[in-house]
Amino acid sequence: MRTKLNGLAGGLWRYLREATGDDAYERYLDHHRAAHAGEAPLTRAQYYTKRQQEKWSGITRCC
């Protein structure tokens, strides 16, 4: 029961992090390691700024 609850809480926490983009940088690093091994990845701050700039150049919010 306890482990089940822990599992549920962990799942919710991971969902929250992914849905909000809190873990976006870690995901980017994973992708970078897999796809561009050897090149230096962006720093956390660079990634965040670049991502926001891209996100807000298109239509991401409705009426």
């Binding site: 956390r44 807000w56 409705c62």
Partner: protein
């Protein structure tokens, strides 16, 4: 999708679906046939949820299996172009959250609130039917089309599939809807904030909070979105409480007691600043805050309605459904209820997110039903909650808040007399007591939906959580509405500026340079001035502005939906699915009917309260005859020109819609005759290597 997925396989599951269908039908029947004092809100929630479930389980599944023929072995753009930034195969529930947060704006809260002037029944039925047969279908089919086309935008798809004419129409239509949308949302803010020191000081406080969080998320703890947002939300609550303190402090409350004109200037300056500042400083952090708040409030409202089970006090129909003389906006049930509800039933704007943005996250085609159809069903449920929040108020109170001074008179006694005469009793004492309780000087003539929605929500919240603190709940609700209207406003101004640059570069190349700061400033200025013009016109209009701007917004939003559904229908025909083209063709036909009749009525109606042209003519006549009071005469020339521009715009919307429809029909007929048409621009089949069940949340 295999055949078996279409129908429930086992007897118990058949019985459950039968029960849901019967339950939904009886709830809708109960709502429709009920005549009497009041009806419980739970019926509305039950009717809505059963309708969505049945439609999702059967209609959406059928469309996916037979019409779109989703292929779960086919790699999506997210998989093929995975770049770790915007193209990322994402867990379906996460994508659902993103998509829902993107499509759920202030529209489904405001539109249904305004439409309640006809009574609860017409708006409610259209929200349900419009969503399951129109809005959800549009969102899902466009998402499918874009997913099969490398995540291309609606405008690009219109150009590729219909031709350059369709492409131009989509581009200009999108920019104009943005313009009108921002103007009308600005007006909603003005009517909520004018002469309300509490609301004004709270909203002003949210700006430094957003900037602080922006600096935090970029400089202090880069990318830590969750902790930044939590700190921000706490600070926003402090702003609401601080606003109350300002309101009770005689020495400073006057500084925040702004006229409608001052708030309008603030909104324009704000929009310009937000569009030209770096996004990380203001736009991005405020969006995080407003998204958290929005989802939180939606869940809180749903829970409160279920716990409190409030009674609906609005009648099923009011006399305004028939006589077209409603105080909030003029015009009869047909076509104006369909135009007014807008986003809760079908919103063309969603097609812009369903193409381009969300397809870049889809891990598997089979998620399209849940994310495209399901998100819109949930948005429609938000519309039903807005209906409930408006109808739990005494109808007299609802009309007193929403009727502009130009309709019921400036004095409170005159207003309550007029409203009581309509058959919705209300007294000055009652309105004064309510205003005191929510911490306002007056609630009269706050047209636009936001304040009456806030009173409704505050009533539901304080009823659920204890009767004290009505004023806190009210101002929390106002802050929440203004916050995410401002997000739409500056995100819209930013995108509108890009679109303007994109269009103008065909005439003067340098303006298209989006990386040039002077061009950015110039294009932003032009775009803000354009929507600012309509906002100003709305603020100056003695009939409250909503009467003019909301129908224009509704028409433009349906126009965009019409373009999206035309593109979708054209694609279905080209896919060899002509016999199923009615899936998008039917909602398209209905939109064409309501959009055209609303445009024609708004332009040519001989009633000066409805028709722009006769409105301008009658005002000119009165001005010439000298029968206008001096303060109305002073703004009359502006209003006359304004109404003529509105007429041209409404006509233009109708013409653009028909150009696209005819273009689509022309292409379909050529196709049938075996003549050449632009080829289907679908990307080639690539087999997926992702196990969709493994695209789980992993960190």
């Amino acid at each position: 999708m295999p055949q078996a997925a279409l129908m429930p396989r086992t007897t118990p599951s058949k019985l459950i679906w039968l029960a849901i269908a019967v339950g939904g039908a009886s709830a809708i029947g109960g709502i429709a046939l009920h005549r009497g004092e009041s009806i419980n809100a739970i019926w509305f929630v039950a009717a809505a949820i059963c309708t969505y479930l049945v439609a999702y389980r059967f209609y959406a599944a059928w469309i996916c299996a037979r019409v779109l023929v989703l292929d779960e072995t086919r790699a999506t753009p997210a998989e093929r172009f995975n770049n770790g930034r915007d193209f990322v195969p994402t867990n379906r529930w996460v994508t659902f959250g993103h998509h829902f947060a993107a499509i759920a704006g202030p529209g489904p809260l405001i539109g249904p609130t305004l439409a309640m002037q006809f009574g609860y029944l017409p708006g409610t039925l259209w929200i349900l039917a419009g969503a399951v047969l129109g809005g959800c279908v549009q969102d899902m089919v466009i998402m499918f089309c874009s997913t099969r086309r490398d995540g291309r935008s609606l405008g690009q798809m219109a150009r590729d599939e219909l031709g350059p004419l369709g492409g131009w129409a989509a581009m200009i239509g999108t920019m104009l809807i943005m313009l009108i949308l921002i103007a009308v949302l600005g007006l909603v803010i003005v009517n909520a904030m004018k002469h309300s020191p509490w609301a004004t000081s709270t909203v002003l406080g949210t700006i430094p909070v957003a900037m602080l969080i922006g600096i935090y998320m970029r400089g202090i703890r880069p990318g830590r979105v969750l902790e930044g947002s939590l700190i921000g939300i706490a600070l926003l609550l402090v702003c609401v409480i601080g606003g109350g303190w300002v309101d009770h402090n005689e020495a400073i409350r006057g500084m925040f007691d702004w006229s409608g004109e001052s708030v309008a200037w603030f909104v324009m300056i704000y929009g310009f600043a937000a569009a030209t500042l770096p996004v990380w400083l203001l736009l991005a952090p405020r969006d995080y805050l407003s998204t958290f708040l929005k989802l939180g409030v939606v869940f809180l409202l749903a829970a409160s309605i279920l716990i409190l089970a409030p009674e609906m006090k609005m009648p099923a129909f009011t006399q305004f459904a028939g006589n077209g003389m409603g105080p909030i906006f003029k015009g009869s049930l047909f076509p104006f209820v369909f135009i007014t509800v807008a986003c809760g039933a079908i919103s063309g704007f969603h097609a812009l997110v369903s193409s381009g943005t969300t397809p870049k996250l889809l891990a598997n085609e089979r998620d399209i039903r849940m994310i495209g159809y399901g998100s819109m069903a949930l948005e429609s449920l938000v519309g039903i909650m807005a209906v409930i929040a408006a109808c739990v108020l005494d109808p007299g109170v609802y009309f007193a808040i929403n009727s502009p001074a130009g309709v019921v008179g400036k004095e409170a006694t005159a207003a309550v007399q007029a409203i009581t005469q309509w058959g919705f009793p209300v007294t000055v004492d009652q309105m004064e007591a309510l205003a005191r309780e929510v911490g306002e000087k007056t609630l009269f003539a706050r047209t636009g939906g936001a304040p009456s929605l806030a009173v409704g929500m505050a009533t539901i919240f304080s009823g659920t959580f204890g009767n004290a603190l009505l004023s806190m709940w009210y101002h929390f609700a106002i802050m929440f509405e203004v916050l995410f209207i401002l997000t739409t406003l500056d995100a819209g101004t930013r995108v509108g500026r890009f679109m303007l640059q994109d269009i103008l570069k065909h005439f003067w190349k340098p303006i298209g340079d989006v990386s040039s700061y002077p061009m950015t400033v110039a294009a932003s200025f032009v775009f803000v001035a354009a929507w600012g013009y309509f906002l100003w016109q709305g603020v100056k209009d003695p009939l409250g502005g909503v009467n003019i701007l909301w129908p224009l917004f509704g028409i433009s939003n349906q126009l965009l939906a019409g373009i999206a559904l035309s593109v979708a229908t054209g694609i279905l025909v080209k896919m060899g699915k002509a016999k199923y083209a009615w899936v998008t063709g039917l909602p398209l036909t209905w939109l064409a009917i309501i959009c055209t009749s609303a445009s024609v009525e708004k332009v040519f109606s001989p009633n000066p309260a409805i028709g722009f042209l006769s409105g301008a003519a009658s005002l000119a006549e009165k001005l010439a005859a000298g029968t206008l009071p001096p303060e109305r005469a002073a703004v009359a020339p502006q209003l006359i020109v304004g109404q003529q521009i509105d007429a041209a715009l409404a006509l233009f919307f109708a013409v653009v819609l028909w150009i696209v429809i005819i273009d689509m029909l022309r292409m379909s007929l050529r196709m049938r005759a075996g003549k050449p048409v632009p080829p289907l621009s679908e990307a080639g089949y690539v087999r997926t290597t992702l196990d969709p069940d493994l695209v789980a949340v992993s960190h």
